[in-house]
Amino acid sequence: LKKVMNQPEQIVKEMLEGMILAHPDRLRGIKESGVLLRTDAPVEGKVGLVSGGGSGHEPAHGGFVGKGMLDAAVAGEVFTSPTPDRILEAIKAVDSGKGVLCIVKNYTGDVLNFEMAVELAAAEGIEVDSVVVNDDVAVEDSTHTTGRRGIAGTLFVHKVAGAKAESGATLPEVKETARKAIGRIRSMGVALTPCTPPEAGKPSFTLEEDEIEIGIGIHGEPGVKRTKLLPASRLVRTLFDRIREDLPFKAGDRVAVMVNGMGSTPLMELNVVHKELMACLREKEMKMVEAWVGEYMTSLDMAGFSLTLFQLDEELEALLAQPADSVTIRRGGN
């Protein structure tokens, strides 16, 4: 187990400290709570946005806290949902009286803990609601099961809900925009290597030198299919087809795309992936209007990537283009 760290049990706390020290102009923390806040939270007259989940997905979620995106991110232990009391602290800290929306990734742990926090906040008289993101097409979507996971597409939800909230919209309006976005976002990932959680100290699964795991989540869970390593072009096409057919996306669609590195895949390779993805889009006559290529929702030191497509409409495209000023996503006005 080779990691740059001190005690594995301290890594989340130390990481959060490091983030705040690096970005004191953008972030402040709530002591001992794993919560990172916009320095100016709560923002008067704005719906507060809270997201979070287990750690190990950096820059998610703290990297997306800032004007035009999240008001707070709550970090749990590595790959473990934060507890309700921490989430409650975040909700309280960002509530300006206009209500708070929680953006939750669909994992039993996250859903249950956020659900309890929302109940507690509501009991304290805060107007609070939540949406659950489930963009991972690798997993069967059934009401009888846990359903689809929330993966990298969550960050597009942060962006559009963030812009909507910044516009002064009400909680139901922000929620509606978030739900609309969720309905139009689809993702799927692949791993070339497993990841190694700091406390476990052992890889989450094993892969042969020429094997890859298709349809992985972001917690070192094994994927849905194991195959031989494929060339980038075939790998991208495999994921793209699955994603495209699921919604389905169609000719003429205007889309935002995300090529998300899982933690240890070099940007060089992500750009190769993006080139292949653009070839797929061209072939299907879809129009890319925005591309995020880099690391957004990682899985510790896993090698691999996920693809996300986001079918835009006029409102969503405009929201995506709005200014944002988080550590990871920064864009000026248009």
């Binding site: 790959f79 473990t80 949902s81 934060p82 659900e115 052992k202």
Partner: protein, 211 residues
């Protein structure tokens, strides 16, 4: 069992969890995200700490465990176990002892709590299956005294039986058919809870409450 006995049970369970931490994590690595051992250990370590200075009555012990698990564990198991202990605490309100005939209703409260919180049904291969079988079987035998050895036996059998199922809830569900044959970590930590209960009761030796 009175408050002290129950505290003893939980202290013993905290030790067992510490001991079995690596094993639980290993089970979770195979089908989930490899943290069930760490999650449980984090919560129960804190339970043990809290119990050191604890003075309250029977429902309060359960409430202490519930609150501690909810605020320390996170993940799926935190709210689920937390809810189970909360419901048991509520059921025990006003009582000072768990009598033989309390077990069926007590376990039912726990089992229903998990079922509601987890939106889970039987046969979906989670800890719920174990809680449900223990509660239902105890209920069916209403009238006969429920021994902790029975609880343990039913729990063990169920945990063993669900290995062959395909998981439908929790992270293992993402594996689809590949989950078949693997043990469910939460079911196994539940078995350990009943195992420790049985050991606690047995080791009190001749005070006869178990007989």
């Amino acid at each position: 069992m009175n408050a002290k006995d129950v505290a003893g049970w939980f202290q013993r369970y905290a030790d067992v969890i510490e001991e079995k931490k690596a094993w639980l994590t290993e089970l979770d690595s195979a089908v989930g995200d490899g943290d069930h051992g760490a999650n449980m250990a984090r919560g129960w370590k804190e339970v043990r700490n809290q119990l050191k200075t604890f003075e309250g009555g029977l429902p309060e012990v359960f409430l202490l465990v519930s609150r501690t698990l909810i605020s320390k564990v996170g993940g799926a198991s935190g709210p689920l176990y937390g809810t189970a202990f909360l419901r048991m605490s509520m059921f025990l309100k006003g009582k000072e002892e768990i009598g033989h005939d309390d077990w069926p209703a007590l376990l039912k409260a726990a089992s229903e709590g998990i079922g509601q919180r987890g939106k889970v049904n039987g046969g979906e291969k989670t800890m719920y299956d174990v809680w449900a079988v223990v509660s239902e079987t105890a209920e069916k035998r209403a009238g006969e005294p429920v021994r902790t050895s029975h609880l343990l036996e039913w729990a063990r059998e169920k945990a063993e039986a669900i290995r062959d199922l395909r998981a439908l809830k929790g992270r293992a569900a993402y594996l689809g058919d590949r989950s078949v044959g693997h043990r469910d970590p939460g079911a196994e930590s539940t078995v350990l809870l009943f195992e420790t209960l049985h050991q606690t009761v047995s080791s009190r030796g001749g005070n006869g409450r178990e007989r």
